[in-house]
């Protein structure tokens, strides 16, 4: 794989990570007053997809959507402002962290209801199909969302109509504090199950960004060329608590050993190692990348913090769209 490409993957992941770390740092000032679900540890999947799709492709995501939004090209400033509830936010403050959107880059929204955005993504694929374009639709979801009936209904329809949709399941082993074993049968392979519904299915290491990239390269090509829906299950892990800025290993719902095992396979560290193994001098380039990102982030937070709040009466407008 080209070094440039890997550097890019690194950059995207690192940008997501640093953005979220800054959110975590600022969060306990209680100025970002909305439920906020961080993806720290899960950056590889979003970053890899980012390099394989076009701006005019669609994506939808979930409560845990920052990484997907940023990877799709969503405006960082608008996202941070949204989390701060500001009028410059991507949803004008109406949505918060769980309702991100950037239509300019085809990021069509996130939902706070588990499974809710899955059929929306399939509908976007249907629109591409009806409009005879070669856009594809990317649907991010968690392992928990595969327990909702709507997931299964959506895959069935996508396969039935051979729609250009790619389901991207980040299996991070938990739904809030609930491990897979209290929700899904022992030995369940989500990707195998979805294969039997009729979608081309794969599973893969979601912490190895170049692996993710290779998988997406193929699957996106296949979907775009009209070969029908794809489902990919990526195994990965979130570091922080389900919702909020803290670590929560103290709660005891997952073991420190498990946590440590995953941390050793941190997607960004793995990628960095891979880069430095081929060329130790890249370290300066990486530092430079980090530096640029940090500046961008600090700008974005300043922008958000300095942006005005919406007027209270804004709450009472915008219910209906007028022609």
């Amino acid at each position: 794989m080209k070094q440039d490409l890997i550097l890019n993957l690194y950059r995207i992941m690192k940008r997501i990570r640093l953005v979220e770390e800054e959110i975590a740092l600022q969060y306990p000032k209680w100025e970002m007053r909305c439920p906020t679900h961080l993806s720290i540890g899960q950056e590889a999947v979003a970053a890899a997809l980012s390099m394989c799709i076009r701006k005019d492709d669609f994506a939808v995501s979930t409560h845990r959507g920052h990484a997907h939004y940023l990877a799709k090209g969503g405006s960082l400033k608008s996202m941070i402002a949204e989390i701060y509830g500001k009028s410059t936010g991507c949803s004008r403050g109406k949505g918060g962290s769980m309702h991100l959107i950037d239509k300019d880059v085809g990021f069509m929204g996130t939902s706070a209801i588990v499974g809710n955005s899955i059929p929306i993504g399939v509908g976007l694929a249907l629109s591409a199909h009806l409009n005879f374009t070669d856009q594809i639709s990317c649907v991010f979801l968690g392992d928990g969302a595969t327990e909702e009936g709507v997931f299964y209904e959506s895959v069935n329809f996508a396969v039935l109509k051979n729609l250009p949709v790619i389901f991207i399941c980040e299996n991070n082993l938990y739904s809030v504090y609930s491990p897979l074993e209290v929700r899904q049968p022992k030995g369940r392979k989500i990707s195998k199950m979805v294969e039997s519904i009729g979608a081309t299915s794969l599973s893969g290491d979601g912490n190895d960004v170049t692996n993710c990239y290779r998988i997406f390269r193929n699957s996106v090509n296949s979907v775009r060329s009209g070969l029908g829906p794809y489902f990919i299950e990526f195994f990965t892990y979130r570091y922080k608590e389900h919702c909020g800025h803290e670590y929560d290993n103290n709660l005891g719902y997952r073991s420190v050993a498990e946590f440590e095992t995953w941390k050793k396979r941190d997607p960004i560290e793995l990628c960095k190692k891979q880069l430095l193994e081929t060329d130790l001098s890249l370290i300066r380039k990486l530092d430079k990348i980090d530096q640029i990102i940090k500046e961008e982030i600090s700008d974005a937070f300043l922008f958000a913090q300095n942006s005005p709040f919406p007027e209270p009466q804004e709450a009472f407008s915008g219910l209906y769209a007028d022609s």
Binding site: S91, G109, I120, G123, S127, L130, S137, A321
Partner: protein, 354 residues
């Protein structure tokens, strides 16, 4: 003026969809059975042939996902018209409707809009029973961001459906099964009726009757009869129950000072309650007598023919209620407006069960 034709309510609906699909390539039509030989009581007949399988299609029994798919498509230029043969089936899709469709425009700061139309068929039939007969319009009317339409005549059905399809917002379009065979004059081609305007069907100084959908047919019979007794009613057909045309209702009640609201839903928490509450709060000084309502009992519809006899409201019941509000005699009503027999069909042409 446009050429008109005498057609059924079902044909009017079919024409509205056809015209909309002609006017806009983005309009699609789907739902369980839309392409089958019966074409949803005739309302979708011929559409697949004319517009092709891509734009007109049957679907899996997956009401929830299919609603979300309609929403998703609508975010990118598609205007889906989705049909459910019974409102009751659509209960599976409340998450997509309420947590999705109704809120996307608002919660994404006006950047998304959801121009979907969901056709729901409801109402009494022939032994439909508890889960095939529910008139739950009150639910939809409670949700900010939805529009809800309940046309009574073929003319309104077509004009309102065209408006619904081209409205930028999610519209719940409710058809009473007993109206599909009713006939009326309907313009050819495209015309639109605003989604927030009630229709005053008759004028009279004595009392305001607010009604909706099939009940307006019964109310018309009642008010026509009462006219012969020199009782004159303002009969208002709501047409839209969200938003409601309050001005039309208020103007009328200011004139008549009396109000009766008819509702095909369960009594408690019905739209009729909302109408009475608003009028009572806002026009308290104008009311000459307590407002009242007639709605279905707070019981599911039972299945047996013998058990639905007193379940639904008929013209005679309405006439009697009006006379009792006006404190005038009610003789002759039973002679002139007898309970229909059989009471479970709208007319001879109706072949049960659906």
């Amino acid at each position: 003026m446009k050429m008109t034709q005498i057609i059924t309510y079902a044909e009017a609906i079919q024409q509205a969809i056809q015209n909309a699909m002609d006017l806009d390539d983005g309009v699609i039509c789907f739902g369980l059975g839309v392409t089958d030989p019966k074409g949803i009581f005739g309302t979708t007949l011929g559409l697949e042939k004319e517009f092709g399988k891509k734009r007109v299609f049957d679907m899996p029994a997956s009401e929830n996902a299919m609603t979300g798919i309609a929403i998703g498509a609508s975010l990118n230029g598609i205007k889906p018209v989705m049909t459910h043969q019974r409102l009751d089936f659509f209960l599976l899709a409340m998450d997509q409707l309420v947590n999705g469709a109704s809120k996307l425009h608002y919660m994404f700061g006006k950047q998304l809009n959801v121009p979907i139309t969901i056709r729901l068929i409801l109402g009494r039939g022939w032994g439909q029973g508890p889960t095939h007969s529910q008139s739950l319009q009150a639910w939809f009317s409670h949700i900010p961001g939805l529009k809800v339409v309940m046309p009574t005549t073929p003319y309104d059905a077509k004009g309102l459906l065209l408006s619904s399809i081209f409205d930028l917002n999610p519209v719940i379009f409710i058809e009473h099964r007993w109206l599909h065979s009713s006939i009326g004059e309907v313009p050819k081609g495209d015309y639109r009726i605003p989604l927030h305007s009630a229709l005053q069907i008759s004028s009279g100084k004595d009392i305001t009757i607010v009604s909706m959908s099939y009940l307006t047919i019964e109310a018309k019979k009642a008010t026509n009869f009462l006219k012969t007794k020199n009782i004159h009613c303002d009969l208002i057909d709501l047409r839209s129950i969200k938003p409601i045309d309050w001005k039309c209702i208020y103007d009328s009640v200011e004139r008549t000072g009396r109000l009766l609201v008819l509702d095909s839903g369960f009594t408690t928490g019905s739209v009729s309650g909302e109408v009475i509450a608003r009028v009572s709060m806002d026009l308290y000084q104008k009311l000459k007598s307590p407002p009242s309502r007639m709605a279905c009992p707070d019981f599911p519809e039972p299945t047996s023919y013998a058990l639905t006899k007193d379940y639904y409201i008929s013209a005679g019941d309405i006439a009697k209620k009006i006379t009792s509000i006006l404190e005038v005699p009610s003789e002759e009503i039973d002679n002139f407006l007898p309970k229909p027999a059989p009471h479970d069909t709208p007319g001879d042409y109706f072949k049960g069960p659906f």
